[in-house]
């Protein structure tokens, strides 16, 4: 049934492997894919993974630094696999404890671990147990507990159901299940009463129903048992109370004023704080703009919703004070835990909760971070006194690992490559409204010009008022900073625009063709900002990217964004994947993190964005002038994040 089973060390040496009968392909490929995508990216939420036709389950053993992986066909559903892995792990550990405890890998290399026989035995056991569980047969009435109760016991009396002892009944009840739960309420204290065997059958169906109803109401009364009357009547049907919605309950407004069903005879009812009902036109907005009305509850710091999403609303000062207190308090608590040899998951829970709160305070997205925090807890077993420093170090390493780019990030080198191939290097900027796409586009073109490349800016934002003029102004400024005379007589920056209202994808295609003809080195495509929920605009963006196949698709996100980043990135990636025609859709290749100077140490957005997409942060925008463009330093960001 199993395709393969491997046991290998974290250092990469395979200690023992088993390949199922008739399986010819090597399993190295799928297991490597498992390691890279799951273990290294710290997504240890569930322990299974699918790779083509195979389904893989794994288990980490952190004490001896081993990994156990089992693979089987995806279409099979084997129920015994989880327990099987656990059994194998225990047996392997017990058998080879001595060799595994050695420091250094020599023993691992020199030993050949003969585990085949034990494995076969365990596999047989597991398969047998999987088959043996046939569905339990239904109990006959005689065996059930109900038949053993008396009629009298089910009618409740005043002192009736005080005793919860079911000692007599328990001897008879060999099966514990949901019936027992109900019995606790109904259990007759009078055990010594002779139970009439078939007492129930003497009653008619109606009386049985009545009895059942009594028990039901009694259970749900939640009143002290003494209060229950002899035969409780069902509750009086009350009138349905009028619903009062909190949101609508603004001061001064009442439901009466919102009730428009009465006919008004032309008299203006002037209540305070109520919108005008006389015939003023809606379009004119005389005088100052009215501010947006906010609920007073928005002043609180962090409102946590039911489904785990955290909306960071409100003053940064309150957040920072909460953060400062929380973290110091957490480590103080950790310092209290001294001397425990091996911390279990339960011990870690309060610590992890506090850490979670701290990271939320720095505007990381809660859901994504928690997965890997708990993953980290699995990866390390703690042995010594300095729990606080171990936890901190582990977390720091893990965060740095997330922020490290998984591929080479060197834009200048790639532009040079494209130059050699005589084609322009196309970079597309996408993002929601107002994050700084046009500004950072200008900064990046400045940087490219400084390094001797020629840039064509494609104004594909055909919607926002003044977008094209903004880019034209940038072009003029950049050309004055680097006059054409110094660069061989041709202007270093040119703008390709077709005005407003046209199709963005068409403009982009023409711009790239123009750049190829005029041998520009880089094309920067500026798109309009759009909300991730706006389906037609997302379709348009996906079409632009799918049709033009840019070399780099950069998502521009601001560092202040908080939990929204997760939603934005997920939806953008989803839209790009859905609307592309090919098998390998172009997704977001990199992230530009803007407005980094506005946050001091609340750098959690960087972590959230990188974790969600797995793509590196290519640029960091730290201001509004041309020079304010930086690259990301993972260590500095993480140390700023962990500053307690």
């Amino acid at each position: 049934m199993l395709d393969f089973f491997t046991i290998f060390s974290k250092g990469g040496i395979v200690l023992w492997c088993f390949q199922g009968a008739g399986v010819t392909e090597s399993f190295t490929g799928p297991v490597n894919a498992l390691i890279r995508s799951v273990i290294l990216q710290e997504r240890s939420g569930n322990n299974s993974y699918t790779h083509e036709a195979l389904s893989l389950k794994y288990k980490l053993d952190n004490e001896f630094e081993l990994i156990f992986v089992v693979g089987f066909q995806k279409i099979l559903t084997l129920t015994y696999v989880d327990k099987f892995i656990d059994d194998v792990q225990l047996h392997f550990r017990d058998r080879y404890k001595n060799e595994l405890e050695q420091k250094g890998s020599l023993k691992l290399l020199n030993n050949s671990f003969e585990f085949g026989n034990e494995f076969k035995m365990l596999l047989r056991e597991a398969e047998a147990s999987g088959k043996a569980k046939s569905p339990a047969p239904m109990r006959s009435f005689k065996e059930s507990e109900k038949s053993q109760k008396t009629v009298k016991s089910m009618i409740e009396t005043k002192g009736g159901d005080k005793g919860k002892e079911q000692s007599g009944k328990k001897n008879k009840n060999t099966k514990k299940d949901e019936a027992a739960k109900g019995d606790q309420v109904k259990a007759p204290p009078t055990v010594q009463k002779v139970t009439v065997e078939n007492g129930n059958q003497g009653l008619t169906a109606d009386e049985i129903m009545l009895k059942k109803r009594e028990e039901f109401f009694r259970k749900h009364m939640a009143a002290p048992p003494e209060k229950t009357s002899k035969s409780p009547k069902p509750q009086k049907p009350r009138e349905k109370p009028r619903r009062v919605w909190d949101i609508s309950g603004k001061s001064g407004k009442s439901t009466k004023t919102l009730d428009y069903s009465d006919s008004r005879n032309g008299e203006d009812s002037t209540n305070e704080g109520e919108p005008n009902q006389d015939g003023t036109l809606p379009e004119s907005m005389p005088g100052e703009l009215l501010p947006v009305e906010c609920d007073s509850s928005d002043e609180d710091d962090i409102v946590e919703e039911e489904d785990g999403e955290v909306a960071v609303v409100g003053n940064t000062s309150s957040i920072s004070s909460k953060k400062a207190g929380g973290f110091g308090g957490m480590f103080g608590m950790l310092k209290g835990l001294v001397g425990s040899k091996n911390l279990t998951q339960a011990d870690m829970e309060p610590v992890l909760d506090k850490m979670r709160d701290h990271l939320i305070g720095t505007s990381s997205a809660k859901g994504s971070i928690c997965d890997f925090i708990l993953g980290e807890a699995e990866m390390y077993t703690f042995t010594a006194l300095s729990v606080a420093s171990t936890v901190k170090q582990a977390l720091q390493d893990s965060l740095v690992q997330i922020l490290q780019p998984k591929r080479r990030v060197d834009i200048l080198r790639d532009v040079m490559d494209a130059q050699i191939q005589r084609r322009p290097f196309v970079i597309t900027f996408c993002g929601v409204n107002g994050v700084g796409k046009s500004t950072n586009l200008a900064k990046i073109s400045f940087w490219l010009i400084e390094n001797g490349f020629t840039v064509l800016i494609a104004a594909c934002d055909t919607f926002r008022a003044g977008a094209v003029e903004q880019l034209r102004t940038h072009q003029r400024r950049l050309n004055s900073l680097h006059p054409p005379e110094k660069h061989g007589g041709r202007p270093v920056v040119q703008l390709y625009e077709k005005g407003y209202g046209k199709d963005a994808a068409g403009i982009a295609m023409e711009a790239i063709a123009y750049a190829r003809n005029q041998s520009f080195d880089v094309v920067l495509v500026d798109t309009a900002g759009r909300m991730q929920d706006n389906a037609p605009l997302m379709t348009a963006l996906a079409k632009l990217i799918a049709v033009n196949m840019p070399d780099l698709v950069l998502f521009v996100g601001e560092a202040l964004v908080g939990n929204e980043a997760v939603d934005q990135l997920v939806k953008f990636n989803q839209a790009l994947a859905d609307h592309s025609m090919s098998d390998k859709p172009r997704l977001i290749d990199g992230i530009v993190l803007t407005k980094f100077d506005t946050i001091d140490d609340k750098v959690g957005a960087a972590i959230s964005m990188t974790y969600i997409t797995g793509q590196p942060i290519v640029f960091v925008g730290t201001g509004q002038t041309y020079n304010d463009l930086r690259s990301l330093n993972a260590r500095a960001v993480v140390s700023a994040l962990m500053k307690a």
């Binding site: 974290k10 250092g11 990469g12 390691i35 273990i39 290294l40 080479r408 060197d410 080198r413 040079m416």
Partner: protein, 260 residues
């Protein structure tokens, strides 16, 4: 004349002796114990540091270049199946030279997200670095290889210690494998371009500049001989030409390691 030389010291010795005798014996013992502790500490420090500093040989390289198999072959000669490493492995290695010196052989994971942190941990202890390159798919990976090599060569700690850099062109048993000479030429060309783009790269947001060190000599094309550390190119095959049961073809590598 000797007597004259000794005479000036005599009175000093006398006074010293008298002073020592005047002192409380407990006080004297305290001073002696303190001196002994200091001496022993210095002794131990000298011994320990001279043992651990620069006594490791690191196996680095891109993912899937064959480091872990090479590790296994060098240590025990056995062929072992391997998977992607996620932590380092280390073991003592006995060199095949007359002196029989031993040092630690450390195999670092090659995956992009783990590489920097393990390099940070072990680079100060490196006496030699074996940079393993997959010769068969070198053409596709040349830019990644060059970038990693650039990071190694411009690292301040490595530049200070100047360990021996052995570029091991692995997987020579595959027919399409490139020779060491070709790999050297390609890397030189690539590093030539890379040093220009890296020094022009953006500084990171706290002000520290990335590539501050310029490799080689300005104005001339980059060559490995321009570096302060010694760079050697060797060919090897961890799998061996005869497959799993045969011996590995790592003789030139072992010879170079023996010269350490």
């Amino acid at each position: 004349m000797e007597k004259d030389a000794n005479n000036p010291f005599e009175p000093y010795m006398e006074t010293l002796r008298q002073q020592l005798e005047d002192q409380d014996p407990v006080f004297l013992i305290g001073i002696i114990v303190a001196l002994a502790v200091v001496v022993i500490t210095l002794f131990l420090k000298y011994f320990l540091t001279s043992k651990t500093v620069c006594s490791a040989v690191l196996l680095v390289g891109l993912c899937d270049s064959g480091k872990t198999l090479l590790f296994s072959r060098l240590l025990s000669g056995n062929y072992k199946r391997t998977q992607t490493s996620i932590t380092d492995s280390s073991a003592p290695y006995k060199a095949k030279n007359d002196k029989g010196s031993t040092w630690t052989l450390i195999d670092l994971p090659g995956h992009d997200s783990l590489r920097p942190q393990y390099l940070e941990k072990f680079k100060s202890a490196a006496r030699a670095i074996v940079f393993v390159v997959d010769s068969a798919i070198f053409q596709k990976e040349v830019r990644d290889v060059a970038e990693f090599l650039y990071v190694l060569l411009t690292d301040t700690v490595i530049c200070r210690n100047t360990p021996l850099l052995l570029v091991a062109c692995n997987k020579q048993d595959i027919t399409m494998a490139k020779s060491a000479k070709l790999i050297q030429q390609q890397l030189e060309k690539e590093l030539n371009t890379l040093r220009v783009t890296r020094s022009a790269a953006l500084s990171s947001q706290d002000g520290s500049v990335g590539g501050s060190l310029f490799l080689g000599k300005k104005g001339k094309d980059f060559e490995f001989s321009q570096l302060p550390m010694k760079v050697e190119f060797v060919e090897c095959s961890a799998r061996g030409s005869k497959g799993e049961d045969g011996a590995a073809d790592t003789e030139s590598l072992e010879l170079s390691l023996a010269k350490l």
